[in-house]
């Protein structure tokens, strides 16, 4: 399999807090790898052939790459902001393309149907116009001024509110969501989706959060997010084809899908095609 430009990107390979000296085996884009910590407490990642792979520890996770990343791991400034709680949600394995998992994360129109009475509810199904751009300097996809009515937007929300969202795609299998923060209207809650591509049609999804919420027990925060992602999984494992179609014609977008359209275009422009289907079949 051609890994294309995605070979030189950073990917999450595990939670740093769960590492111990016994290496655990996982995979990156079809290649078996081992993740562990050495005696000095430093995370190490090695390929099965014994090659040491690049490592970063950031946002609760260990990151690595099969190639040689020419860019540093993307920044999330909110990860250094005092007063936030950082939530390692854990892992959800999904039998789908890593790119489909990201695209679903960028989508709000499914909230009333997939996350019924949590992130959305009929008859509040309309997606109002929002702004989408590919920012050339950062080389990231951004969607802003995304608004949606939500019955229970977060664990810290009581009752329905119109939530505002901003989405960012800083890497082909990662997205960062900024969301209205019910207890602190001037700040944004940060919810991320870090996707580890195990194969073109199989991935481990590692959600992570940086929230202003001093009240909700950690277990409840984790359960809330896991509930949401398990609902998404029931969709992601039943989309045909499993790979994300990059050529127009295979699927029909509308105005509500502009983020997805920009994401697909950005992937194609960069030859980020691991997990993508290029020709309609």
């Amino acid at each position: 399999m051609e890994l294309g430009a995605m070979r030189n990107e950073w990917y999450p390979v595990g939670l740093f807090s769960r590492l111990n000296e016994r290496a655990y085996e996982t995979a990156l884009m079809g290649e078996p790898i081992e993740v562990s910590v050495n005696a000095d407490g430093k995370a190490t990642v090695t390929s099965r052939s014994g090659r040491d792979l690049p490592v970063r520890v950031r946002y609760g996770h260990v990151w690595s790459s099969l190639g040689t990343p020419d860019k540093e791991l993307f920044a999330i400034p909110e990860a250094d902001q005092p007063g936030r709680r950082f939530v390692d949600v854990g892992v959800v394995r999904v039998r789908c393309s890593p790119l489909r998992a990201v695209e679903n994360f960028l989508d709000i129109a499914h909230f009333p149907f997939v996350h019924t009475d949590i992130l959305g509810a009929e008859p509040h199904t309309e997606v109002q116009n929002y702004k989408v751009e590919i920012r050339d300097v950062e080389d990231e996809v951004w969607a802003t001024q995304v608004k949606f009515y939500q019955p229970q937007a977060a664990k810290s929300a009581s009752g329905g509110i119109t939530t505002e969202y901003m989405y960012r795609v800083p890497a082909p299998t990662c997205s960062v969501l900024y969301k209205t923060c019910p207890p602190r209207p001037a700040e944004w809650d940060v919810i991320t989706l870090f996707v580890q591509p195990l194969a073109e049609d199989l991935c481990d999804v590692w959600p992570w959060m940086a929230l202003f919420d001093d009240v909700t027990p950690m277990t409840d925060l984790i359960h809330f997010q896991q509930t949401i992602f398990l609902q998404d999984r029931s969709i992601l494992e039943n989309q045909i084809p499993r790979l994300l179609p990059l050529d127009p014609g295979m699927e029909i977008p509308t105005r509500a899908d502009l983020t997805s359209v920009a994401y697909r275009r950005w992937l194609k422009r960069h030859d980020y095609t691991y997990g993508a289907q290029l020709v309609a079949q």
């Binding site: 199904t125 309309e126 997606v127 029931s234 039943n238 045909i240 029909i252 509500a256």
Partner: protein, 193 residues
């Protein structure tokens, strides 16, 4: 519910007024299986974004844009459906004949076997007759089985009984069909068929 014909996977559904319909099992928006969807009134809606489709296949509504009339180009392929004596028939292409009638019989249940038709016939010790039905019996209960080949050596077995069979015979018939399925799966696993 999901079903399959030689033309591929379909979503088989019954509208609120009772009319059965079959459409391709894929929403053209984001590829989600329509057999996971829900029926409201005379329309089938996709579970992902709620796009709803008429029995003729045209898209009726896109909930993200409630004011939009979906263009005629957004549609799912459909197949003809007929209901006869409690059995739903789906046509591939344009059929010239009516589906067969099984007068005096009523459907009891359907089960999926991980075995091909040959393995089921071997386990039953009988072949399907000219009417397409395999006859088998046990405990003085006579069963008729309608076998429909699925992908990868799987078979959907529809069990039919005489219309006047009492409840006790129906229970027997159900057990006989399950025993036959197990036997057929054994035959298939041993590669005898």
């Amino acid at each position: 519910m999901p079903a399959r014909t030689p033309a591929g996977p379909i979503a088989l559904w019954r509208s609120a007024s009772g009319r059965p319909a079959a459409s391709a099992d894929r929403c053209p928006h984001r590829g989600m299986r329509l057999s996971h969807g829900f029926v409201r009134g005379e329309a089938l809606s996709c579970i992902y974004h709620g796009w709803s489709y008429a029995q003729a296949g045209n898209c009726l509504r896109i909930p993200a844009h409630p004011g939009l009339v979906p263009p005629e180009t957004i549609r799912v392929a459909t197949q003809q459906v007929q209901e006869a004596d409690g059995v739903i028939w789906v046509a591939v292409g344009e059929p010239t004949d009516q589906p067969p009638r099984f007068e005096g019989l009523v459907p009891l249940r359907s089960l999926m076997a991980n075995a091909g038709i040959a393995a089921i016939e071997a386990a039953a010790g009988a072949k399907s007759g000219a009417d397409g039905l395999l006859r088998t019996s046990g405990n003085s209960t006579e069963l008729r089985l309608l076998l429909v080949a699925q992908e990868q050596d799987r078979t959907l077995i529809h069990v039919l009984l005489k219309g006047d069979a009492p409840v006790s015979q129906r229970i027997f018939a159900s057990r006989i069909a399950e025993a036959l399925r197990r036997a057929a799966e054994d035959v298939q696993a041993k590669g005898i068929a």
